[in-house]
């Protein structure tokens, strides 16, 4: 197994060029998977020194480095993302190591970050040797544990536009230790957008009018959530059942309606 820890993005993309390497961000998911032999890569590219951490302002938005940890996000004032980061479980060990880019690239349906990025209208910056591209978050999350990233690409940063809309975030878990079962990230502006995480393989976007959101929410969720996510923690029909409830709580939170 080849191990490299490049000092910059060019080094990373060069190491990834063969398409057979596994990227290690914070390593909170991928290192245990390698330890247990579920992932057996021929090469490992460690992003620790590639200079991809940190949050910066850029025009009318934020640029969040892929290696930014939950701890850094929690201290920031990026809407929704900061709130979600504060609710990550696993203690300081996970919050100090787990990264936003790692979570996005892992694309676990039962996680916080994907739906939040979709709600924010974030764009994912991908780099490969000799090139770069940007993909809207809504397209990036292609399915359960699947993204638009190609094996020779690295996620370098995530851009998040400013928003005047009011944020609301609700995460529903069975108990402290469970993965999120359903999350809802809401932004209430002239119209309301609420994005469901955990409910399906990829985030589900629900758009609503302010005047009619309560009346329309359940039928919209039912219409859009045709294939709910099903796992050992909760069956699909349960997720479908509570998704409108959690969405409504997030919207009510955004609108500061009790």
């Amino acid at each position: 197994m080849r191990y490299t820890r490049p000092a910059d993005v060019d080094g990373v993309t060069a190491a990834l060029a063969d398409g057979d390497a596994v990227v290690v961000g914070g390593g909170t998911m991928v290192v245990p998977e390698m330890t247990h032999g579920r992932v057996r890569p021929s090469a490992v590219v460690d992003l620790a020194k590639a200079g991809l951490a940190g949050i910066a302002r850029d025009g009318d938005g934020w640029v969040i480095g892929a290696m930014t940890t939950y701890t850094e996000l929690a201290r920031s004032n990026v809407p929704l993302l900061a709130t979600a980061a504060r609710g990550i479980t696993g203690g300081p060990q996970i919050r100090n190591r787990g990264t936003v880019g790692g979570s996005a690239s892992y694309a676990n349906p039962s996680s916080d970050v994907p739906a939040v990025l979709v709600a924010l209208g974030a764009r994912m910056r991908l780099a490969r040797r000799g090139g770069a591209r940007e993909v809207p978050a809504a397209e990036f999350f292609a399915g359960a544990f699947r993204t638009a990233r190609e094996p020779d690409e690295v996620l370098t940063a995530i851009t998040v536009p400013d928003t005047a809309a009011a944020p609301g975030y609700v995460k529903f878990k069975l108990v402290e230790g469970s993965w999120p079962i359903v999350t809802a990230a809401a932004l209430a502006g002239p119209t309301i957008r609420v994005v469901l995480g955990g409910a399906a393989a990829a985030p589900v976007v629900v758009e609503l009018e302010r005047a009619s959101w309560r009346a329309r929410l359940r039928s919209e969720v039912d219409r859009l959530l045709t294939e709910p996510w099903d796992d050992v923690l909760a069956p699909g029909h349960y997720r479908a059942r509570i998704a409108p409830v959690i969405a409504a709580r997030a919207v009510a939170g955004a609108l500061e309606e009790a």
Binding site: L174, V175, G177, S178
Partner: protein, 782 residues
């Protein structure tokens, strides 16, 4: 000036003796032992739930880097016999099968040991284990106990008439007549899902041979029984086997012996001619079942709430049969009914059934938890049927005169159940909750309160087995006055070493710092039985008391000789009499160095004593019932919950346990145990469940899918004590440590049903996870 002696007497809470070592990471556990030349074992486990082993190809594994040995079942059977049972089902009229350290012909559950690899590192052993190729003729399997009882169900053990290990019937009187005559009869069902104990330290063994002598370091509860067991399975005389169990990181019954790996690791070490260690990984630990039962019951009552009869049919799914004690737990689920309620017309029918799942191993509560759970559900259902308050129905049925012979033949030593109820209702503000309930329901909030009463028989004795109701302790004072206590009981983390040291220090009249405890070493400790059934402080403490009193009597005799008076005393390490004082070490030195000058006092400052508590009676009565428990702890639990009716999520708002384990030797340790047991019950009530895929593999094989409660899920567990001493135990203390599992399950289940009363929900099982609770609400909705 000497510091004032710390309060160490019986009833005070000096710190846990090993607390500092544990907190600072200096305590040594099994995996910390790394002798020179150590090799590591990995067990190759069945990937099918039921199948005949056709071929095992070990060539690639044997050729892998670092590999010293690959062992199959056929080869192992040439060197080791079957693992003897802790409790043999045949001796109880049931079916048995030979339990092997590695399966030879057939596997009956996913995860059953089939082969083993020994290599220079654990990593190499694992890599080689992945190369072992096993071919099976896959057989149909059955994962549900009811289905397993069908005539045409797949048979785990082909020479049995079915999959039932044993069918037993318990009780007395004429319950059918009682139900026919009752004013009301309620029926109920209770499904208790399979959970596991999940100690922080998994099981592990390290075996090494010095010539023909075997030493096994083990993370286990019962070193002497393990020694016997290995002596039988390996055909080695006990005198050549030494078991050492030092620190154990939690056990809860799981580490009682009878596991195939115990014999296996000793055999691997023999064949590899090197020390061999095996430590479970978490996925292996999570395979161990703790409980899984279905109860169908009918209970009759008078219109004023007196329960007159009970019929309960239990189907207990124990998975595959094991030599461990776990298969026998459901017997206690039956015999512990009807708990501390005065009901004499009772019939409990029990089927202990095998399925193609991993075995149930012994687990805190040892089946008694299920008896409490089902009785507390029955009482609540009666209350509901009669429109009475559940607290009142309990009060109408409590046993009040002791000793009391129950319908299943247990003899309850003592108790004050009304006192428990009063204290609990008061502490939880039961009346206030009831008042606030109506109002919060109007605001769409579903608050509920539930009660759970427990009567916990402890320190059991089973004749002819190594489930022993007595134990043995040596107290030895050296020439320097320092005291060594060697005892047959072990401490898997609960802290009985501290309690025993308190007793010995108090009895002798010396500072606790002078007292050293030795446990868990079969070469050093007297014959004993380790830890189970809340016995350690009753019989370990009792035998230590007797031995300490002998030593004290000897010291007093010497002091009397030295002071030339019969009025002598020993306190705080000082002997006094006739206006003179002498430190105890000098008294000891006098006897042991001037034996001839002192005269006719035998110069031994050592005593080994066994303690047999009272109340055990193995002579069957006219109904064939025996009485295997000296003491009966009791407790009353109240849980306050809020249920989110839109998601089904249950939040614990408050929890009170009033506990009566008689005299408390060390209240802090009692509370620590009780909190742990309650938390175990709360986990099983709300979130824990071992889930199996259709193919019989374990789907919940990590802590992200097997949901133990965390600190944030549990409110402050408020503890109240009541002390009703046992007349049958040395200090009046009763077993502590098991009580809490069933009470917690029941209190939560009753509270959830109470919270959702506006929907008319009936709880029929646990865990009451959000999906399950929402399903209950849906089902009750018109």
């Amino acid at each position: 000036m000497a510091a004032l002696p710390a309060r160490v007497g019986i009833g005070s809470s000096p710190r846990k003796r090993d607390g500092a070592a544990l907190l600072t990471g200096r305590a040594l556990f099994l995996d910390d032992h790394r002798p020179e030349g150590l090799l590591h074992a990995v067990v190759v486990r069945s990937e099918v739930a039921h199948g005949r082993i056709r071929a095992i190809d070990t060539a690639a594994a044997a050729a892998a880097p670092g590999v010293a040995l690959v062992l199959t079942g056929a080869e192992a059977a040439k060197h080791a016999g079957p693992v003897p049972y802790f409790i043999d089902p045949a001796a109880r009229g049931g079916n048995r099968t030979d339990i092997r350290c590695l399966q030879v012909d057939k596997v009956v559950h996913v995860g059953q040991p089939v082969a083993a690899v020994v290599a220079a590192s654990r990593h190499e052993a694992q890599a080689a284990a992945d190369l072992v190729r096993i071919t099976y003729d896959v057989l149909p399997h059955v994962l549900d106990a009811r289905a397993a009882m069908a005539q045409d169900a797949p048979r785990l053990y082909e020479d049995w008439p079915g999959n039932v290990v044993a069918h037993n019937r318990y009780g007395s009187g004429d319950p059918d007549a009682a139900l026919a005559a009752a004013d009301v009869v309620v029926e109920g069902e209770l499904r208790i899902a399979r959970t596991t104990t999940a100690p922080i330290e998994p099981r592990g063994y390290l075996a090494s041979w010095q010539g023909d002598r075997l030493t096994v370091h083990a993370s286990c509860q019962n070193p002497h029984q393990l020694r016997w067991m290995l002596s039988v399975s390996l055909g080695v005389d006990e005198s050549r086997i030494r078991i050492v169990t030092a620190k154990v990181g939690g056990s809860f019954g799981l580490k009682m012996q009878g596991h195939p790996e115990e014999t296996l690791v000793a055999l691997l070490s023999l064949l590899a001619d090197a020390p061999v260690k095996w430590v479970e990984d978490r996925r292996e630990t999570l395979m161990a079942g703790a409980r899984e039962q279905v109860h169908r019951f009918r209970v009759g009552a008078t219109s004023d709430g007196r329960i007159t009869g009970l019929v309960n049919e239990i189907v207990a799914d124990i998975g595959a049969l094991t030599a461990q004690a776990g298969w026998a737990m459901p017997n206690m689920s039956a015999t512990t009914q009807p708990s501390g309620y005065a009901v004499q017309d009772v019939r409990v029918e029990l089927d202990i059934v095998c399925t193609n799942k991993p075995p149930c191993n012994a687990a805190r509560g040892f089946g008694k938890d299920a008896a409490h759970f089902v009785m507390e559900r029955a009482v609540d259902l009666v209350a509901r049927e009669l429109g009475m308050d559940p607290a009142e129905v309990r009060r109408r049925n409590f046993v009040r005169e002791f000793p009391y012979r129950t319908a299943t033949g247990l003899n309850i030593d003592s108790g004050d159940f009304d006192g428990l109820l009063d204290k609990t209702l008061d502490a939880v503000d039961y009346a206030g909750i009831r008042r606030g309930q109506a109002e919060s329901r109007e605001r769409g909030r579903y608050l509920g309160v539930g009660l759970g009463f427990e009567l916990t028989p402890e320190s059991s004795d089973s004749p002819g087995t190594f489930v022993s109701g007595f134990d043995t302790t040596t107290v030895r004072m050296s020439v320097t006055g320092m005291v060594t206590v060697l005892t047959g009981v072990t401490s898997p983390g609960g802290g009985n070493d501290t309690g025993i040291a308190q007793i010995v220090a108090t009895e002798l009249g010396v500072p606790i710092e002078w007292v050293e405890l030795v446990q868990g070493d079969t070469d050093r400790c007297p014959n004993g039985f380790g830890n189970f059934s809340g016995r350690s402080m009753v019989v370990g403490g009792g035998s230590a008391t007797l031995a300490a009193r002998d030593v004290r009597a000897k010291l007093l005799a010497v002091a009397a000789r030295l002071f030339e008076t019969s009025e002598v005393d020993i306190r705080d390490g000082i002997a006094s009499g006739g206006g003179r004082e002498l430190p105890v070490p000098e008294v000891a030195r006098a006897l042991l160095t001037r034996a001839f000058a002192i005269g006719d006092i035998e110069p031994v400052l050592e005593s080994t004593r066994a303690y047999k508590p009272g109340n055990i009676n193995h002579v069957p009565d006219e109904l064939g019932r025996i009485q295997p428990y000296p003491t009966y702890s009791s407790s009353l639990h109240a849980a306050v919950v809020e249920v989110d009716a839109e998601t089904g999520k249950v939040t614990l708002a408050d929890y009170v346990m009033t506990h009566d384990c008689g005299t408390m030797i060390n209240p802090a340790l009692v509370e620590g145990q009780a909190r742990g047991a309650v938390t175990m019950g709360l986990g099983s009530a709300l979130s824990e469940q071992l889930v199996f895929a259709a193919d019989g593999s374990l789907a919940s094989n990590r802590f992200k899918s097997y949901l133990l409660p965390r600190a944030g899920d549990i409110p402050l567990l408020r503890m109240i004590h009541q002390v009703t001493p046992s007349p049958f135990a040395m200090h009046g203390n009763k077993g502590a440590g098991e009580a809490g599992v069933g009470g917690a399950q029941a209190a939560v289940a009753n509270a959830v049903e109470d919270a959702l009363a506006p929907f008319g929900v009936t709880v029929r099982g646990v865990p009451l996870s959000p999906p399950n609770v929402l399903a209950l609400i849906d089902e009750a909705r018109p």
